[in-house]
Symmetry: D2
């Protein structure tokens, strides 16, 4: 259960940062869906390291191979397996860490829990894993496209630089800059800040906002599979994520009911709400309005400065990172957030096909 | 899958707000645990309506009955079923709502998804369900007590009134006032505010912070069952919750890596961290430090003022609530947050017993 | 996971033989299904003890109460909880067994596994549980009726008395005698045999055959959720079952391929097979032919003769049963077999709605 | 859910007969288990085609690669992925079948269910999949070896030639002949029979018996995860299997209770049973006696004779197999039966570690 996600559209993954390859099995994708491999690659390219001067310089082309579940360009209903080779592996950058616990990494907890760990490149705790989520999420997106559901995430803050609310943004511009913020002015400041921080050997946190349009009313379940709970659980699975909010989020906690309630309207025969503090989800179920949520990322733990720590023998040590790392993870995390959202929504889309009797 | 939660310590629930009774089955509780029924009742009393002048006046004593899985005062390894009767049901307060969609409730989404809904008292969308979580969580707490794990939640804000950081609070004082805020000065202001808002027929949001002490290092899984992701998914299942953050949370997004990293220390032979921005969880796995997280609740949607809405025929209507409702939900949600935390941690505690080879 | 069965049409049960009540939660039943409570009671009546002179004399009317998930006579998509009281409980019949291990019962294994057991009436190992399966199965049958799927089981042997192959039987006659064998001549011999065995204080085994007609082609999954594997796993969950076979079954193991292959035909535009050794399932998936399978039941372990055994202190003892027991379990197990078959097929029916892309 | 098996020791598989490779992810194997790759290869060699003159001549060496989850020769607690290349693929042998439905194969049901199928070599319906089960089962066996649990299957019949009861056999001799029957006389007759049937272009069914020794009492769950139900569900997942029985099995159905009951004895301080009609499992839970069960395999559907059938347009056709096929599948299925048994028992072994309170 530890490495699977989803119910009816379900992924199971494997692989470590410096193993020969990583892979994902997608179980439950309906048969007959046309697979556009070019689209999958484009999605992977948005996440891959080495894509720009503000990301890690590890060179992974992230070419993938679909080795089952697709025949004549269409899904067959069988499990879809996607493999991605690890090409630019420099494990010797990590050999000095084999007995050390890097601050705010998973080294200590893995060693304690399992009694053994693959320290090379962080092993399975590496965000290398997220390439698989993006590949699987691309297939979920292909499924959702047929239903017109549209998922777009963007960088809404880097450090203390904030982008405006999504309603004032053109989300099609997200890919127009390296930071993936559709507001050009904010994007420029963010990029400058990231470059400065990198130069100082430090790192920065940030937030990503995601907007899902055209979701039909009815996705999500009343009690334990609430749509936002599934989205939150998914986002909190991404490395470095510290928080999740949807709709009014934390700011809703200081509002009054009369301000916060979203009044229902009949807009040309269609049920709409006047405001959308609910974030498109009521009682755990989509209501047809925009779904939107925000995800907080802490600064990357690997800094290029000497830090104090301890080793497995509990002795004091000094650590200095080698390896190749991102000064700020949010630009590359945009497609990851979208991918997980797509996986969740595809799953609930399938579940929902079984919830009303049509006999 | 829709009404179950957890893996090895797993609950499945049923019941609507105005049905004859509600119930929970706990599957997987280890055999041989002594059950203290008095403790379960005390926990239920903390959640029940009618407990004070700042809560709903619905009179439910929430007496429960354990009808299976316990023999001679101990768990037998069989499913534990707990039933709670609904006693103070006033369904006619809701009959005028049978065709109407209350703003920011689940009425519209349930009707759309299922084509039918039990409108009495909100049916299954009611927070009545959470009594079951508290009962099941009490059993999880009994299990965890044996391991010294200690879970304490409290109200950390009501509207814009904030309590100080948990490190400066005596969490044993949480039950000393009606609001369940261990800081007396803040508690007093919160209570005054809630009373004022109730008088005006309005409602208020707030936040709850939860602190888990004495968790051993090793709970949680590396990729999809990260401890914080499970906690977040659980908290987002509570009615009215809009956000979740742990450790540094959203504030961590504007920090630098060198500030945020928690330096490891050898403190008298024990591994500790100097700071705890990680919130006691690294790489998804507990590291032995305090686990702490915050949950945001929107204001209750049922306000005692006339609101505009529409009915099932999409006609404009005016709505005015009858029924009995809380002006601010957070005081009663404190034991709910604790209960879900206990369920998650008990589950991971059992899972962890299977993760290292001891042959 | 221990007390749940099924995926999308999923039941979770609780209760012991001599507790105050037993219950089942059905999670995932689609909304909008009309519930015929009279039909559910009729199904329960077929299973209940005390129904005839060849069954246990325990008097349980098995009146049930649906306490959630049904509103205005229809399912709401919420969990359906059904409770059944235990009325005719004579726990003192079992007090002498509290420290003893009855031969071929679950006493020893429960005590060893859990370190504690509810010995009254066999606790949770009692077939009392199966009343819940019949109630839940009745709801599955109501769902399947809408699709014309028809499930009929009957007693195909008692001891060494065999009924003819199902193709020569009128399965509507199954309820016309106490044994539930549609062949009157065989039924008569079976009844005589059961009465003789009861008189001698002994018990008898037997087999049940189940035939499912009008299943559409397409139910079942290719690898691990093969339809027959799910049916087999279900049937092997029934108390006293020792074997399962479908189609040609064990006799197929001594056939040649040219004899065993079911030749496809175009019969008036419909694809049919000439023979049906496949038992209606090929590659784990229904092909539209009759599904049929056979289930073997051992003789009831509780005999009315003195037997040797040991107690918890491993001392030799003599045991003589009190309590009320069936001399042969198969007549009452017919509705149980049907119920589990209905649960499996309803589950696969829902799953199948998500397996082909219709975008 | 369709391509996963098990709960805590859980496998998820992918791959088609003629794809580039097949693979399995093992999730939940405890950390710290030493992996003997040579042993895994030996197990695969027992299953691979081309191993002898009585098996398919497809040449697959079934060399495998472990690409994650093992570090320094030990499991790390991360998912273990094993890949096996398909080398001797002759897809053109199948091109004439692309629109045809072979009798008693999965062609028709796959086409109907999914609307598309990979016809090359049977696609995912091929027993090629079972190589993955054997590889994963080998790891389960390595885990179980540490607990002294010992699993041995053998061919107990081919057509109408039967081997004696297992209690009279030396199961270490199973590998001493091509048929994998430890009784030399029976093995000789079986081999002669298989060769004759192959010559005539026909095929034969058979049975496999499996014996598990040294299982501790306590594995299995009371109601829905009964140990024998899990074993039966597993065995019925193997291609061509038509029946499963354990202990007395179908013959138990014609016995009396006084004959069938297994009397408990104190044998030098250890609890034993005089007979073992229970097959080592009582109330769904192992009792420490030998677990034994029998699995029935139908004759292979691919015969080397011309057969009538229909195509996708429902037109009558004549079919003659090309490809390379087994005349009798049971000799190669012996390691498959063992592997699935090992997977089930390893899973229950882990589950059992969480069922008794030890606080």
């Amino acid at each position: 259960m530890h490495n699977s996600f989803g119910h009816l559209f379900r992924i199971t993954t494997f692989g470590e940062s410096h193993g020969s390859q990583i892979g994902v099995i997608i179980d439950g994708c309906p048969a007959g869906l046309r697979i556009n491999e070019h689209f999958i690659q484009l999605e992977l390219n948005r996440r891959r390291p080495g894509q720009s001067k503000i990301t890690s310089s590890r060179k992974e082309t992230d070419e993938f191979e679909i080795v089952s579940g697709v025949f004549d360009g269409k899904t067959t209903g069988m499990p879809i397996a996607i493999l991605i080779a690890n090409k630019d592996v420099k494990s010797k950058d990590y050999s000095h860490l084999s007995n050390s616990f890097r601050p705010s990494h998973a080294d200590y907890t893995y060693a304690t829990k399992f009694g053994i760990r693959d320290y090379r490149g962080g092993g399975r705790s590496s965000a290398r894993e997220t390439a698989l989520w993006v590949a699987a999420g691309a297939i979920a997106k292909l499924l959702l496209k047929k239903t017109r559901i549209d998922i777009r995430a963007y960088v809404s803050s880097v450090g203390d630089i904030q982008a405006p609310h999504y309603s004032g943004l053109n989300l099609k511009k997200t890919e127009s800059n390296l930071v993936r913020c559709p507001d050009e002015a904010a994007a420029q400041k963010m990029q400058t800040k990231i470059e400065a921080v990198r130069k100082s050997g430090d790192t920065l946190g940030g937030t990503i906002t995601c907007v899902v349009k055209n979701t039909p009313a009815g996705l999500g379940e009343p009690v334990f599979n609430k749509l936002h709970a599934a989205l939150g659980g998914a986002m909190l699975s991404i490395n470095a994520v510290k928080g999740f909010e949807f709709g009014s989020g934390f700011s809703g906690a200081s509002m009054k009911g009369t301000e916060h309630n979203d009044i229902f309207l009949n807009e040309k025969g269609k049920i709409k709400t006047k405001t959308n503090f609910s974030g498109g989800i009521q009682g755990g179920i989509s209501n047809g309005e925009d779904i939107y949520f925000k995800v907080a990322f802490k600064p990357v733990a690997t800094v290029m400065q000497t830090q104090q720590s301890i080793n497995e023998k509990k002795q004091k040590i000094k650590l200095k990172a080698k390896g190749r790392h991102d000064p700020c993870v949010v630009p590359r995390a945009v497609p990851i957030v979208e991918a997980l959202a797509a996986l969740v929504i595809a799953d609930f889309y399938l579940i929902n096909q079984t919830r009303k009797f049509s006999g």
